[in-house]
């Protein structure tokens, strides 16, 4: 009898103390309401992002910031579901199955938008990135033929943002949705879910698309062109290299996604175009949850990561 009374007492004590302890240990939710300078970016959020920028251990800082986001409980649940779905991509046996998983991921992303804090956070981060020059200015035509097409050389890296919601094109996109490699004679060498292919330059020149043109600043033009020829020989021109839906597996040679092909071409020359830029990692972890950094952002190479790489000089970035 006495024993059971003691057990009950201990249980009661624990049930009072443990949540209190957890509450003390849990990170303070970020104040996403106060915006004294009324720039559309909550003050605490702006400061927290600055802290990430200053932090030596950026990944830890990103994790800490993501843990403080006062998203709705449903949003966190959706991010967990996204994590599980992402794992399933690794074992997708057919492209149809992979496409179904990606469609579900897009649907989750749309659902998360219903959380006003979630959507406001991504809007605020976009504004902040534009302010700091990490992202381009909002869409506006800066002049006819503002993209410097005439500088394009074979082997140059081409990046494009198409569609107003980039994650609808590529679920892990922040800004750029696709990369290509200029082949010369108005042909662009790319990889998409149907394999490596050539497309006409005119597809890249349509109005309303944002295009970035970049050149490897570590190697000569002829070296890069040699690597392009190597890639075309290695990955074939007969559709033998399928699309790689498991984005984290960037090292495989048996299947390719668009930015992986670009990364491979330059990797052949010993140049690693995967910048692992913290700006992209922060964006991604606020969008999908911190799980995405070790699971996707580090092992994969996204078009956005290529665009931030210091081995590339972006010589033209503009709206068509």
């Amino acid at each position: 009898m006495r024993l059971s009374r003691t057990v009950v007492l201990v249980f009661l004590l624990l049930s009072l103390l443990v949540p209190a302890g957890l509450a003390l240990a849990a990170p303070q939710p970020l104040d996403m309401k106060t915006d004294l300078n009324q720039d559309g970016i909550p003050d605490a959020f702006a400061e927290a992002v600055d802290e990430v920028a200053r932090a030596k251990d950026k990944q830890a800082a990103i994790q800490a910031l993501a843990a403080r986001m006062p998203y709705q409980r449903e949003t966190y649940a959706l991010q967990k579901e996204a994590q599980a779905l992402n794992r399933k991509l690794a074992s997708a046996r057919t492209s149809e199955e992979a496409e179904r998983i990606l469609a579900r991921l897009r649907a989750l992303r749309t659902q998360m938008e219903k959380d006003p804090v979630y959507s406001a956070t991504l809007r605020a981060l976009e504004k902040l990135y534009i302010q700091k020059g990490y992202l381009p200015q909002p869409a506006s035509r800066t002049g006819i033929q503002a993209v410097n097409w005439s500088a394009l050389q074979p082997g140059d890296v081409m990046m494009i943002r198409s569609g107003k919601l980039p994650w609808m094109s590529f679920v892990y996109a922040m800004w750029y949705t696709h990369t290509g490699n200029y082949h010369g004679s108005s042909l662009v060498y790319e990889s998409n879910p149907d394999g490596v292919r050539l497309k006409p330059l005119s597809d890249w020149q349509q109005s309303g698309q944002y295009v970035g043109l970049a050149r490897n600043n570590r190697k000569t033009a002829s070296q890069v062109q040699g690597a392009l020829a190597w890639a075309e020989n290695r990955y074939g021109t007969d559709g033998r290299t399928p699309y790689n839906y498991w984005f984290p597996d960037k090292t495989t040679d048996s299947k390719l996604y668009c930015s992986q092909l670009t990364w491979k071409i330059h990797g052949y020359l010993g140049v690693d175009l995967d910048s692992n830029a913290w700006q992209y990692h922060l964006w991604l972890s606020l969008m999908w949850g911190p799980w995405v950094i070790p699971a996707v952002a580090y092992p994969a190479v996204a078009p956005d990561e290529v665009s931030y790489d210091s081995d590339l000089t972006i010589y033209s970035e503009s709206w068509n």
Binding site: Q145, G163, L187, Q209, C258
Partner: protein
């Protein structure tokens, strides 16, 4: 006051019914459009990659309404929503069916050819090959579909136009160079297909021509068209083929090779200059060639000017009209001896998108509005 306990329920049901009726009316309007007019015209919106092709549609309008003087632009009588993919080709067979070739987007290829009735009802979805975006040609009882596939090589597939059964195919490739099929044209005997390829100078464009026997799909001949050639439109007329060379503004040859004329007797290529360089889209009515000129098309050396021209092919005399800089037309057709162009631009308000026709004063007038208009078929 008498309280009526069923009133809120009845009102709710009435509202639900009204809403449902409206919804169903909307659905049925899209699913079963009315009969096509005697002179139907079709406008296509199928190229807005900025909106991920979400605005794709096929619009039906009464082309005879273009005869009336232009006051306010017409709106189409009916529209049909199309799948979200680039739709580069629109063809109409003599029986009124419409054939659309799809080619995906940056993140996906496509294999679909959609066949619609004249009224806009989807009759059939075919999957003949990858990216059927380089031309669709009715020849007798057959349909020849030109597919760019992966751009390194392409394919022509023949189908029975009634049963849609495959009748044969021919692969098109070059020994040590890519062949991205982009243009084609056919008469009863031959199908001509042009490809973008490479040459010694990567700064220049190179086109290659494949000639195929329409009946047997045998490759009759294949010839390089040389540097500064890029052919997206091939027009058959009077037993000859006329290739519009969009890259001619960059050519230094004389005469400037705006038009490459091919005689099936000899397969010799004769270059001709037009009033303007770089014709991209065109049409031949009688002995008159109408062309839209775009020297910035598909090149790293863009120029902003655009133009329209009309040439009498009997005398090779012609005239031209300047268009606003950057006026990027998606297609050209002709109505009552007047060239009409589709226009859409991501930076222009959708109310300015649609079909523009040249008027008596030589200026373009918006005649039919359609957001993201990119293709046209006129009787």
């Amino acid at each position: 006051m008498t309280r009526h306990p069923r009133l809120p329920w009845l009102m709710g049901m009435a509202l639900l019914w009204a809403g449902l009726s409206l919804f169903l009316a909307g659905c049925s309007a899209a699913a079963t459009p009315g009969p096509a007019p005697a002179q139907p015209g079709y406008l296509l919106a199928g190229a807005n990659s900025t909106e991920a092709f979400s605005s794709n549609q096929l619009a039906l309008f009464d082309a005879s309404r273009l005869n009336a003087p232009a006051s306010t632009p017409l709106t189409p009588e009916a529209t049909v929503k199309l799948p979200a993919a680039r739709v580069r080709r629109l063809q109409r067979t003599a029986d009124g069916r419409l054939w659309l070739g799809l080619s995906g987007d940056f993140n996906q290829d496509d294999e679909r050819v959609l066949v619609y009735s004249a009224e806009g009802q989807l009759l059939k979805t075919l999957r003949p090959c990858t990216n059927p975006d380089a031309g669709i040609h009715p020849i007798g009882t057959r349909i020849l579909i030109v597919c760019s596939e992966d751009g390194f090589h392409g394919r022509v597939v023949a189908l029975d136009s009634q049963s849609y059964a495959p009748l044969g195919e021919v692969a098109l490739s070059l020994p040590d160079a890519p062949a991205l099929l982009v243009g084609s044209g056919a008469d009863d005997t031959y199908l001509l297909v042009t490809a973008m390829t490479t040459g010694p100078d990567p700064q220049r464009s190179y086109a290659h021509l494949f000639v195929i026997e329409a009946a047997t799909l045998e490759l009759r001949t294949s010839l390089p068209l040389g540097p500064d050639t890029d052919v997206w439109t091939i027009l058959p007329a009077s037993g000859r083929f006329y290739l519009l060379n969009a890259a001619s503004a960059r050519a230094s040859a004389s005469p400037r090779p705006d038009l490459l004329v091919i005689d099936p007797g000899t397969w010799q290529v004769e270059a001709r200059a037009l009033p303007l360089a770089s014709p991209l889209w065109g049409a031949i009515r009688g002995s008159v060639l109408y062309a839209y000129h775009h020297p910035g098309w598909n090149t790293t050396q863009p120029q902003a000017w655009r133009g329209l021209s009309r040439v009498d092919m009997a005398t090779w005399q012609g005239e031209s009209w300047p268009l606003p800089d950057g006026f990027n037309a998606g297609d050209l057709s002709v109505w009552n001896a007047r060239p009409c162009l589709t226009f859409a631009d991501a930076w222009a308000p959708p109310s300015e998108h649609g079909l523009y026709c040249l008027n008596d004063q030589g200026t373009l007038t918006l005649r039919v509005t359609l957001a993201d208009a990119s293709g046209i078929w006129l009787p």
